[in-house]
Every structure is written in structure tokens, then in C-alpha cells.
């Protein structure tokens, strides 16, 4: 047993990376997230085969192939249901989902609500850059209403941004944190905490898109470490999140204690013959 533990500790962050070169632009915040994620896996001392990273479509959703763990890169917006099915079928696996603001909150918005509600023990890492990068720069649900940088909405969207952490809290997420891609050490630490916390853990990462939102390079100067520690009181967390400007980072904001949804695959004495007997006249 001790030998096994020692064996586990041998793995370093780089051992969780694959040899595939990311397609991201130079300076993209997602590089830093990949570093933090692999660092977190090393810290958790999980064997690569014990972990699965699931994603949908978008820049951030490319992460699975850049790791050396089991990965699943599916269709746009549906990473959470894939991860839900995987975790419920194979509860012993550690399941993480990597997503972005478009994949997670727009096309996948309904699954986000219900994943929070269902509270399956998975960790949801959302790289939020307030833009669709892969399709070359359109407004996402978290984009400010007056952003005029897209040909699709040249006058801005005129629509209030989606508040992922508030919605996540209201929907039942069991762990909520916001971190900045500019601080990979802190990011890794929070991801470790998120994985260890039972139930559905939501980690919003401010991950700048230097290509389509170059002004986001200033985020590293704007963000500040949240001044208060996390609360386990949902009402208090809600008040804080509602008055928050989105730049308080680096800390867990809420930790709940709802038991995760975990239907048992019970080994029973039941047999198919018994089921068939119910049809016999």
C-alpha cells in the first residue's frame, strides 16, 4: 500500500500533459489553465487512468486531448451530460469538465442549471473570456451589453450579461470559486479543493482572449484577491455574489454540504428470470 502511494507521488504536472501542441493563440489564458489543471492532478496524486476530462466545443474544450488522462471531446454544449453519465456509471473515476462561457452558459445553459441541481460529484471548470473565440469573436452570454467588437452585433448586444456564479448558486452548485488565469498556483490550489469537495463544484476562471478581447490583458491588474473567506450560508453567498463586480478572485466563495446525487449500482440477488416471471400468465 505504502509503495503504491509512493508510486503515485512520482508523477509531476508534466506527466499529465500529452505531446499534442495546443491550437491556442500565443498569450491565451487557457495555457495557464492547462498548467494549473495538470499541477492540480499531480497534487491530487491521481493515476492518469483514474481521471477523465470531458468537454464540448470551443477553445477551452480542446483541453482533454492536451492531457494524458482519459478524455472525451464531444459536441457543443453537452459536456455536462456526458460527464454526468460517465460519473454515474463509473463513480470511482474522478471526472472534470472543461468548458467556456459560450459552450457552458449559452448552448449548454440548460445542462448547467440541471447539473447544479443534480449535484453529481464532478468539477466544472469554465474558462470565461466573454467571447466566442473559435468562431472569431462574437458576443457570449457573459459579454458586456455595449461591447461593439463583433460584426454580428456591431451595436453591442444590449443584453445584460449572464451571472454564472449567482445562477450556479441558485441552481444548487455545492462549491463555487472564481480564479484568475494570471495566477496558476492559486488556480491549481482551488481546483484541488474543488475536486476534493463532494458534489458539483463550479470554478469560473477569468481566462483572457488576447486575440479578440485584447483589452482583457489588463485583467491581471484589475483582479483582486477576494477579501472574505468562503461561506457555507447560501443566502450570504448570494448577497456577496449579487454585489460583486466579477473581479474578486482567488478564493472559494461558497461551500455547501448537500449530499451528491449518486444512484447505487447495487449488486442484487435479482435475476432476469425474475423479471420475466412477471409476464407469465
Amino acid at each position: 500500500m505504502e509503495a503504491a502511494v509512493a508510486e503515485k507521488r512520482k508523477l509531476a504536472a508534466k506527466d499529465y500533459k500529452s505531446d499534442i501542441k495546443p491550437i491556442w493563440c500565443p498569450g491565451c489564458g487557457d495555457y495557464s489553465v492547462l498548467n494549473a489543471l495538470t499541477r492540480a492532478l499531480a497534487e491530487l496524486a491521481l493515476r492518469p487512468e483514474e481521471v477523465a476530462v470531458v468537454s464540448g466545443i470551443g477553445c477551452s474544450s480542446r483541453i482533454p486531448a492536451y492531457t494524458s488522462v482519459y478524455g472525451f471531446h464531444g459536441v457543443h454544449g453537452r459536456a455536462l451530460p456526458v460527464a454526468t453519465g460517465l460519473k454515474l456509471a463509473r463513480p470511482e473515476l474522478t471526472v472534470l469538465v472543461t468548458s467556456g462561457d459560450g459552450d457552458g452558459f449559452s448552448i449548454g445553459g440548460n445542462h448547467f442549471l440541471h447539473a447544479c441541481r443534480r449535484n453529481v460529484d464532478i468539477t466544472y471548470i469554465v474558462m470565461d473570456n466573454q467571447v466566442y473565440g473559435m468562431t472569431k469573436g462574437q458576443a457570449s452570454p457573459t459579454t458586456a451589453p455595449d461591447w461593439e467588437g463583433s460584426k454580428l452585433t456591431p451595436e453591442g448586444t444590449g443584453i445584460n450579461p449572464f451571472q454564472p456564479l449567482v445562477v450556479g448558486l441558485a441552481s444548487g452548485a455545492n462549491f463555487i470559486a472564481r480564479v484568475s488565469a494570471s495566477d496558476p498556483i492559486n488556480m491549481a490550489k482551488i481546483i484541488v479543493e474543488a475536486v476534493r469537495h463532494p458534489g458539483f463544484s463550479l470554478v469560473q476562471i477569468l481566462s483572457p482572449c488576447v486575440t479578440f478581447r485584447p483589452e482583457q490583458q489588463e485583467w491581471r491588474d484589475i483582479v483582486r484577491t477576494a477579501v472574505v473567506d468562503y461561506t457555507d450560508d447560501a443566502a450570504r453567498a448570494a448577497r456577496r455574489l449579487m454585489t460583486d463586480d466579477g473581479f474578486n478572485v482567488g478564493k472559494v466563495l461558497y461551500k455547501g454540504s448537500r449530499p451528491p446525487f449518486k444512484p447505487e449500482f447495487e449488486v442484487t440477488d435479482g435475476s432476469i428470470a425474475e423479471l420475466e416471471a412477471s409476464f407469465v400468465i
Binding site: I20, R47, P48, E49, E50, A52, V54, P64, A65, T67, S68, V69, Y70, G71, F72, H73, G74, V75, G77, R78, L80, P81, V82, A83, T84, G85, L86, K87, L88, A89, R90, E92, L93, N110, H111, L113, H114, P263, E264, F265, E266, V267, T268, G270, S271, I272, E274, L275, E276, F279, V280, I281
Partner: protein, 579 residues
């Protein structure tokens, strides 16, 4: 069908409990050694509303309803005209109503059936706790020759929890109806037969049979979003899976259910979902993902009238196109179709085997008519298909695991998460053998060839179709059909055969991929073919024309739901060709 049979309808509105009454009658008939088929038709109301139970009894297994009904017993006339087209009555049919509730509506009288009154409510009200539907059942039993004893055990078992008084009241009402039958005009009576040996007869619906086929095939994870008329598959599976160590999860929508089962199957657990047309439309994108990422899943579509919400409670064979062609890109996959209530079990179990063996999504088409029909049938055979998912268990020394290796069969061993040294990323992006995303022409060509090879080279054996020859031989006429149209076609063939006709019935169970060589062999010597299906656009006929060589003289008999194409219409064409 050569054996004697009797066809009847019990109709009524809110609270008359006609489907329950029909189920009691079915069970009693099974006790008497008869076979039965009961379909149901209901209005759109959530609760109550008008309903009709259409039942056929025979001394042999039943494939189809007859073209018309011998007997209609209306507990009341409420909205019954809505069913008029579904319950054709002829001049020798008998229409029984309660005189206290007025005249039969004109819609039922087009062919001037015989009429008789039965004072069901008055007879029932004379018995404490008596109900009209039990009086009706008694009268039906008396008329068709079903012995009282066959019903007694059913009533005692069904009402055991309600106590002896309820049992006595029900049987008193039944007996009063039975006695009243002597004064009613005659309908066909079935002969008494020996009761079947214990355990040899089942009472099962198509949707239950589908669920059982899934479990027999090894499915242990099901994601569910309710939709008419597929919900009963899921509701049967929920407690049943729990008994065999599986689990069912209710999803937030069909997009979630298809992706949950993809996740579970990627994790190594055989997985299935069941839906109907609107749900299948939502799932299609992700079924394409399962094609590309090579994740075995089974999707059951219990078809209903479309397009859009269509007629949710009624049957149509019109999802063939979306099942075969619905996905974007070239997406080789498997589509199979059940052709009877019992075959829902076989075909679903086979589908799990096909999906797992080929690591590809397999769609199962049934429909409302099969799914919501209850049949008394011979105990289905035990089945075991050899061969399941090929898994990779050990990394080859010094080599990276190739999840999408190019093999002769196209099937490459699949690593299940948890297996050391074989971690890979399953991807809906085009990829190379390792699974690494690739936009190179050569990788796309190679992976497309591999995906096609899997389904093209697989040995489907004799299960691709059910082929039946008339007693006197195949002759030069064929009926080509699929799904729930097979039952009426079987009956037409039987009748044609009884008249000395020669014909062959070919019912395709494997809809995709097409099997041109096999159909060519099955059509040897055939000069004329009749294609039968329940779709407005003739989807099946068009598919046959696209993939197969058909006889020069091929006629298409197709109509939209909800009315099935009866055996008589098929027989008419066979006879026309004979002369």
C-alpha cells in the same frame, strides 16, 4: 390467420376503465388457452377522456388485427365518433350500447351494423358496488364463449387488496352480464381449447418487451426523458434495472439523455435511451458524435404520427428517413426495426449486441401500435448473441495505444477508463488512429473507410429479415414490408395461402445498412412486389429504390397513420395479381 378468431372493441369515456377492462379480458382469455392482441386508442386528454380497447382473440398466436370488428360494446357514447375510422363495423357486426344513454352516433352506422341494447348501468346499479364495465365484460364473455371460471381467478387476483366484497360485487356484475348475453344476437364464438402448460404464455406489451430486450442484451445504464408513446419503456426499465444492478436516470431533456448514455458507454457500461420522433430529432447531432467517437449506444424510437408534435398518441412509420439519413456528414450506423410485439424483445436485444460489437450507435424503430399493444403470446425463446464489445486491456510494449487503429473489420479494441497505460481522448473531431484531432484528407478517408467497414463487413446472419413463404410456395409475388405493417402482411399472406395462393413475405428487420445481396437472393424468382408501409411519403419504398434492385412490377401501398393498412387491402392486391 387460418384459426378462428373474434374481434371486438370496448369503448367508453372518463372513468369507464375500458383499457383496464380489456386487460382483464385478455388475462381471462389466456387462462382459457386463447391468444390475444389488444391495441388501444385514446384521445388527447391527460386523464379520463374517451378510450377504446381493440381486442382480437384466437386459438393461435395473432399477428394483426382483422379488417373490421365483429362486436363493439360502448359503455357510453361520449366522443366515440372520434374513433369511428379506427373501428370499422360491417353489416354483420354487432353494436351494443346502453339504451339509457341514447342512440348510437351516426358515424358508427355507415355500414348499417346490427344493433342491440344492454342495460349495463341499470344491471350494475342493482348490484352493490357493481360497475357497468364488468357487466359489459360478462356479456362479451358470454357471447364469445369465454368461460366464467377463466375470469374468476383474474378478478380474485386483481381485486385481492380491495377485499372479498369487491371481488363478489365484480363477479356478480360479470355474471349478470354473462347471463344477459343469451338474449343478445350472435357473434363468432371461439372453441374451448386446453389451457397452456404453466409458464408457456406471456402477457406483455411491446414497450415492456423492448425494455426486457435491453436488459437481456446487457444494458445497465438508461437515461430517460418522458415522451408519449415511449414512456412505458422507461417506466418499466426504472425498477427492473434496479433489480439487476443497473440504473436509470431521468435527464433534463433529450439532449442530456443521449449524451448521458454516451458518457456511460464511454465508461464501459452498455447504455440505452428510448424516445419518440421529437426526441430523436433532438438527439441526432449527438448520435453523429457516437458514430465519430465510436461509442456504442442504443436509441429506441417508438414512432408516432409526425411531423412536429403530430398526433402524439397514435402510430405511424414515418421516422425511417430521419433514422437512416438524419445525421450530417457521412455517418455509418445501424437501424433495426421490430416487426411484432414479441419481436420488440428480440430486436432490442439484437440491437444491443450490434451496437456493442460494432462500437456504433444502433437505432431501434418500433411504434405506438407495437409499443402500446398487449399480446398474449407463446413464451419467447431464450436468446444469447455471441460477441460483445472488444476492449483493450494491456498496453503494447513501447507503443502508444491506438484507439482508432485501422483494422480489417474496422472494429478496434476500446480502452475503458480505469485501464492503465491506455488513456486516450474520444473525439467528435476527425482524428487519426491515436485519436489526435486531424484535418488531413488521408485521416478523414481512412477513418471514414473504417467506420463504414465496421457496419458493412459485419455478419448480420439471417436476422436481417423475416422471410415467410405461403404454404404452397413462394410463387412469383412478394410483399416487402417492415415494422408494424408486417402483422397485417402476415395475415394477408395466410389468407392468400388458404385460398391456394403463392407468395413470399419479406419483412426487413435490418433497415440500415442495406443488404442488397441478401434481398436479391430473397427475391429470386419474384416478378411482382408489393411494398407496404404506413407513411404518407412512401419513405420505405423510396429507400428500397435507392439501395435495392426491385422487380420491374413493384407497387407501393402506403398511407399515413394513424390508420393501419389492414390485411384485406394487401390481400386485394395479391388477388388482383393472381387473376
Amino acid at each position: 390467420m387460418a384459426a378462428p378468431s373474434v374481434s371486438l372493441v370496448i369503448a367508453g369515456s372518463g372513468g369507464a376503465g375500458v383499457v383496464t377492462a380489456g386487460s382483464l379480458l385478455l388475462e381471462a382469455a389466456a387462462n382459457a388457452g386463447w391468444y390475444a392482441l389488444m391495441t388501444r386508442s385514446a384521445g388527447p386528454q391527460i386523464r379520463g377522456g374517451e378510450a377504446a380497447a381493440m381486442i382480437r382473440f384466437a386459438t393461435e398466436p395473432i399477428a394483426s388485427h382483422d379488417d373490421s370488428f365483429h362486436l363493439l360494446v360502448a359503455i357510453d357514447w361520449e366522443n366515440i365518433s372520434r374513433f369511428a375510422a379506427e373501428i370499422p363495423l360491417m353489416a354483420n357486426s354487432l353494436l351494443i350500447g346502453d339504451p339509457a344513454l341514447g342512440e348510437a352516433p351516426a358515424a358508427l352506422l355507415c355500414n348499417s351494423p346490427r344493433q342491440a341494447g344492454l342495460a349495463m348501468s341499470e344491471i350494475a346499479s342493482a348490484i352493490e358496488g357493481g360497475r357497468s364495465n364488468m357487466v359489459a365484460l360478462g356479456a362479451i364473455a358470454g357471447m364469445i364463449g369465454l368461460p366464467v371460471a377463466a375470469m374468476e381467478s383474474v378478478v380474485s387476483r386483481q381485486l385481492r387488496r380491495k377485499g372479498q366484497a369487491a371481488i363478489d360485487a365484480s363477479m356478480a356484475a360479470f355474471n349478470a352480464g354473462f347471463a344477459a348475453a343469451t338474449g343478445l344476437p350472435a357473434v363468432p364464438r371461439l372453441p374451448g381449447v386446453d389451457a397452456a402448460p404453466n409458464g408457456e404464455r406471456w402477457s406483455i406489451t411491446g414497450n415492456e418487451a423492448t425494455g426486457l430486450g435491453a436488459i437481456r442484451g446487457g444494458v445497465r445504464f438508461v437515461a430517460a426523458y418522458p415522451i408519449t408513446p415511449a414512456t412505458e419503456v422507461l417506466e418499466w426499465l426504472a425498477p427492473s434495472l434496479a433489480k439487476v444492478g443497473g440504473v436509470l436516470v431521468q435527464a433534463e431533456d433529450e439532449l442530456a439523455s443521449i449524451n448521458q448514455i454516451i458518457g456511460a458507454s464511454y465508461g464501459g457500461v452498455p447504455a440505452l435511451t428510448a424516445t419518440s420522433g421529437p426526441g430523436l430529432s433532438l438527439m441526432i447531432e449527438s448520435i453523429g458524435l457516437a458514430v465519430a467517437a465510436e461509442v456504442p449506444v442504443v436509441v429506441v424510437d417508438v414512432m408516432r404520427v409526425g411531423p412536429s408534435t403530430g398526433i402524439a398518441t397514435k402510430s405511424e412509420q414515418s421516422d425511417l428517413n430521419i433514422a437512416v439519413y438524419g445525421m450530417h456528414g457521412d455517418a455509418p450506423h445501424v437501424v433495426v426495426a421490430a416487426n411484432s410485439v414479441a419481436d420488440c424483445l428480440f430486436t432490442t436485444q439484437w440491437a444491443v449486441h450490434l451496437a456493442e460489437s460494432m462500437q456504433t450507435p444502433t437505432l431501434v424503430l418500433t411504434d405506438q401500435l407495437l409499443g402500446q399493444s398487449r399480446a398474449i403470446l407463446p413464451r419467447p425463446a431464450e436468446l444469447a448473441f455471441i460477441g460483445q464489445r472488444q476492449t483493450a486491456v494491456v498496453a503494447e510494449e513501447g507503443q502508444r495505444y491506438q484507439r482508432y487503429a485501422l483494422t480489417g473489420s474496422g472494429v478496434s479494441p476500446m480502452a475503458i477508463p480505469g485501464t492503465p497505460g491506455l488513456a486516450y481522448t474520444a473525439d467528435g473531431l476527425e482524428h487519426n488512429e491515436l485519436g489526435t484531432p486531424s484535418s488531413q484528407a488521408s485521416d478523414h478517408q481512412a477513418q471514414m473507410d473504417k467506420r463504414l467497414r465496421k457496419v458493412a463487413r459485419f455478419d448480420y446472419g439471417s436476422h436481417w429479415a423475416d422471410i415467410v413463404d405461403a404454404e404452397a410456395g413462394g410463387g412469383n409475388i412478394a410483399i416487402i414490408t417492415w415494422g408494424s405493417s408486417t402483422g397485417p402482411a402476415r395475415e394477408a399472406l395466410d389468407r392468400f395461402s388458404a385460398m391456394g395462393g403463392k407468395a413470399r413475405l419479406i419483412s426487413l428487420r435490418l433497415i440500415a445498412p442495406a443488404q442488397p445481396d441478401k434481398l436479391a437472393a430473397a427475391l429470386a424468382g419474384i416478378e411482382r412486389a408489393l411494398v407496404v408501409e404506413q407513411s404518407h411519403g412512401g419513405q420505405f419504398h423510396r429507400m428500397l429504390r435507392a439501395f435495392y434492385d426491385l422487380p420491374r412490377e413493384t407497387l407501393a401501398l402506403h398511407q399515413p397513420g394513424p390508420l393501419p393498412i389492414g390485411p384485406g387491402r394487401i390481400l386485394d392486391q395479391l388477388n388482383a395479381w393472381r387473376t
